[in-house]
Symmetry: C2
Subunit: 420 residues, 2 copies
């Protein structure tokens, strides 16, 4: 038994070491098929653990139909849904391909993906470009306006961003996020600081590489008007940081938390790529005018990768304004939420600190043993999608990761280590 | 006596009303001589209350010599100093011409000034463009690199910014500052959020109006690399907000606090444009490597206009990271400083609120009676200049406005109202 404790301790120390040593840099934007060679015709990567068409929620089905039309695999949404029901598409989690996607998380061959390289370990991770607010595919939107915007991302913005990034040395994300934490961002439901800082970092390179003044103006307007532009970059960064932590024998550190709108799933370092799932919960949140909890889809998206690295709900103390936006209580209570997350994590990140807490680091490396022992579930800041396909975002809130995932993972880890 | 109280109460209510009703908008950049027709050859506007060459501190003299060379009134710095000593230049406070300037605060005919219009009352205020960090004229720098940069501001950046602003509807500053307060700025020693938000607001207009890609790239690089770019805009905004508050009979609200490096001066609404001065104090601060308190010049600049409208030291609670930067104590103590400033102010600004204080407004409208009664002097966040000409910034700190100014102003106000 003490041998097992020793294995766990050393494995977790290594997991923490790798997580904190990461050096994520945004280096490029390329077509998803170039980043992920397996991505062929009819293959659709989605958020969360594996799921079949039959079990997909409304917005996920809406997004699948939309992206199939976008890729030219179907002439219209009804035809796409019929194809999906007949099994014409191959559905796989983003997480199996070093990718992540917000909400429905559609990733297909021709979409542009941002490339974050973890320069401490050499691995790369990918995420599509944030579409902005309103009717968007990540929230299940799939009409002509949504597909037209996706085409513009593919044909104009993606290539321009890629060219600007390749002309520079990339954007070093660790220091950018450190700065964002001193500016009220938690990088999940609030990214206004990091989005602004990113634009500042890229703007000269964009101006010097984009030869067409009208296109440049349109690109700058698009990025400048989207406070959540950075979210997808934070997500790719999270994936780039956690992927090298997979598969450390005996480590009880969470390497992914993710939801497909039906199931919540986690992965644990000592258990490789196995998913431990439980039914996903309903967010507890605030709704946009005209919507209420009856409209809400259960929790969805790969964006919980940011909580997995100590941001989002875990960094609530850095972002008192978000506490009100997601309905998590008074802004002055935000510090309490961060302190609570210290109960279930193994480290503080010395490079990601919170001024209002006198520069304590964000709580990092969720330990499934601590979650099960304390009964404290990870706190997640999230957007809320309408439950019907095609509508879009209806609010924002907080949600807890279901404890059952952590319990079954701990059971499996014990078994793997010869403890029962 | 009760009549006097009634007059004071009504006058101060009007002062607060005007201060909170202001609608400052950044609308243009023009040559100072176009904004201020009185600005002719040999006329130099400076920070703080009136001062003669003989009483000017080192960095102020350095800046005077430098700007005289820049304007072509002298061939070199020595000749310029000799001319100044002979009385060849006319020295006047910025504040007499709806202008403000940081630190030495040089404003002369050919320099570009940013124009902030208070659309509630129609008045305009002016401030030169922030030069960036390092060796700069506002800290007394005056060598060739400083003058070359000033020429670039005059010939390239100023005209480009003016064109971009005129092509847009201007930048509404009240909401931009409100946002900055949720992002860790106090708009005096920390402007990284507002500088980033300003760039976001202007970038598309700059790209669409600037026809030369190389120039556009240089301009964007300059703005994007200067975290304090917004300070001078915040100052012009402060002047635009406080000017309509001047000269309300009986009002005991401060309309200007300012320092020339030798004297600290205040103006009070019920006392029009009269200055009440006292010897300026030394900042208590943190120094850049290689410098210490023995190098420091006493407090200097018109930038205290931001404290006059409830920002800077008064909004310390919004900017816990600044507390450490200026050596004002632990970040977690920042809220205490803002609460203390409530003791000497008449209102909270309902549009400029601080999330960490559960959206309390910044303390606004300093009442000289409260300052004298409580003995609490306004808290100012400031940069620190080297005491010798030509060196530049050596640190940042906090300083208190000297109580003697408030005492002599209160005495004068009582006399004006027939109370002694």
């Amino acid at each position: 038994m003490s041998d097992v404790r020793q294995v766990l301790r050393e494995a977790n120390a290594e997991a923490v070491r790798r997580m904190l040593a990461a050096e994520p840099v945004l280096i490029d934007v390329v077509a998803a098929a170039d980043a992920i060679p397996e991505l062929g015709e009819g293959m659709i990567l989605h958020a969360g653990p594996p799921i079949s068409w039959e079990r997909m929620c409304g917005p996920m089905r809406g997004a699948v139909a939309g992206i199939a039309v976008f890729e030219g695999w179907a002439n219209d949404l009804d035809a796409a849904a019929a194809l999906a029901a007949r099994g014409a598409f191959q559905f796989r989690p983003n997480h199996d391909f070093a990718a992540v996607g917000p909400m429905t998380g559609m990733t297909t061959a021709s979409q542009p993906v941002m490339v974050v390289e973890n320069q401490a370990s050499g691995n790369r991770a990918f995420c599509t470009i944030n579409e902005g607010l309103g009717k968007v595919m990540r929230f299940g939107g799939n009409d002509a306006s949504v597909l037209t915007r996706l085409a513009w991302l593919r044909d104009v913005l993606g290539p321009a961003l890629g060219m600007a990034l390749r002309s520079s040395e990339g954007i070093e994300l660790k220091s950018l996020v450190a700065r964002g934490l001193t500016m009220g961002d938690e990088m999940h439901q609030r990214n206004v600081a990091c989005s602004s800082l990113l634009l500042r970092s890229l703007v000269a390179a964009l101006a010097s590489t984009c030869g067409n003044r009208t296109i440049l103006t349109t690109i700058l307007s698009f990025i400048a008007s989207n406070d959540q532009f950075f979210l997808n970059i934070a997500m790719a960064m999270g994936k780039a940081i956690t992927d090298p932590v997979r598969d450390i024998k005996g480590a009880s550190v969470v390497t992914a938390m993710s939801r497909n709108g039906t199931d919540f799933g986690i992965r644990v370092s000592g258990l490789g790529d196995e998913w431990f799932t439980a039914p996903v919960e309903m967010p507890d949140g605030l709704y946009f005018p005209g919507f209420s909890a009856v409209d809400a889809n259960p929790d969805m998206g790969d964006s919980t990768i940011v909580e997995t690295i100590g941001l989002g709900g875990f960094a609530m103390a850095a972002a008192p304004a978000v506490a009100g936006f997601v309905g998590a209580g008074a802004p002055s209570d935000a510090a309490h939420i961060t302190h609570t997350m210290r109960e279930i994590t193994l480290a503080e990140n010395p490079e990601w600190t919170i001024p209002a807490l006198d520069y304590q680091g964000v709580p990092t490396a969720i330990d499934i043993r601590r979650v099960v022992e304390t009964g404290i579930a990870p706190m997640i800041n999230t957007g809320i999608a309408h439950r019907e396909p095609g509508v879009g975002q209806v609010g924002a809130g907080v949600v807890r990761a279901p404890l059952a995932c952590f319990e079954s993972a701990l059971w499996a880890l014990g078994k793997r280590l010869g403890v029962t």
